[in-house]
Amino acid sequence: MNIETVIIAVAGVFAVASSIGVLLTRDNFYAALYMSVTMIFVAAIYAAFNLQPVVVIIALIFVGAVGIVTIAIAATYRAKPSRQVSLAWTAPVVIVFGILAYAYYKFATQDLEITGQEVFPAVASDYFFVVVFLFSLVVLMMLSAIKLARRVDL
């Protein structure tokens, strides 16, 4: 078993563990957070194969749009009272933030090599009809949703 397989397996174990967190937690807000963490680990598996466009799709659309909207809805319709922030969690959060800040600082001081610059411009030409049809689908669904919402009596 090579190192890539180990990385994929570790990311997968964390993804399954966070999805089990969705199943076990009673609070929808935390379930939405666990769901976003699951998606991030799925993106990590794609990153292990250097499929960066899919990582961007998952991070921007799944986590950035769908996940955040779900978290916002879950927080809005939260049935249980919100928990107080435990001070015991402050120290690990500060430590992790410090490690991340140091890592970003180290990467910023090194030379970055940008590869595959032709990938994103090619999306507009190679997948033009797919994107147009899917945008049309989303607009149709939005119009149907607005029509349905207007029919309902308040």
């Binding site: 699951t38 998606m39 799944f62 779900t70 809805i73």
Partner: protein, 106 residues
């Protein structure tokens, strides 16, 4: 095009199946629409993992399927958010037990 050996393929498909199973369990134990929405998005995460081996055969098809999956999940989010708002307006709640019709009787 990427290289995926048999052990990596086994790990990926096993993880995908496990996430899909957890999503099914979450869906059948859901008591409100928000939990149902979360379980459906977990299912899309499992689908995303399941299409990864396609990149070994045809990367262009894989990218197209990834885009379609992302848009489909966004549309599904839109539909379920509408359903949540409508159910809250009509039934004054999120619970699936408030829906009196649908399904089959045993």
């Amino acid at each position: 095009m990427i290289d995926v050996d048999v052990s990596q393929l086994t790990v990926i498909l096993t993880i995908s199946g496990a996430i899909l199973l957890v999503a099914y369990l979450t869906a059948i134990s859901a008591k409100d629409l928000i939990r149902l929405l979360i379980s459906l998005e977990l299912m899309f995460a499992a689908v995303f993992l399941a299409i990864l081996p396609l990149f070994t055969i045809s990367p262009a098809t894989g990218y197209a399927l990834a885009i379609i999956t992302a848009f489909t999940s966004s549309t599904e989010l839109l539909v379920l958010v509408t359903a949540i708002i409508l159910l809250d307006r009509r039934k004054r709640g999120m619970g699936v037990e408030k829906v009196a019709v649908g399904g089959d009787s045993i």
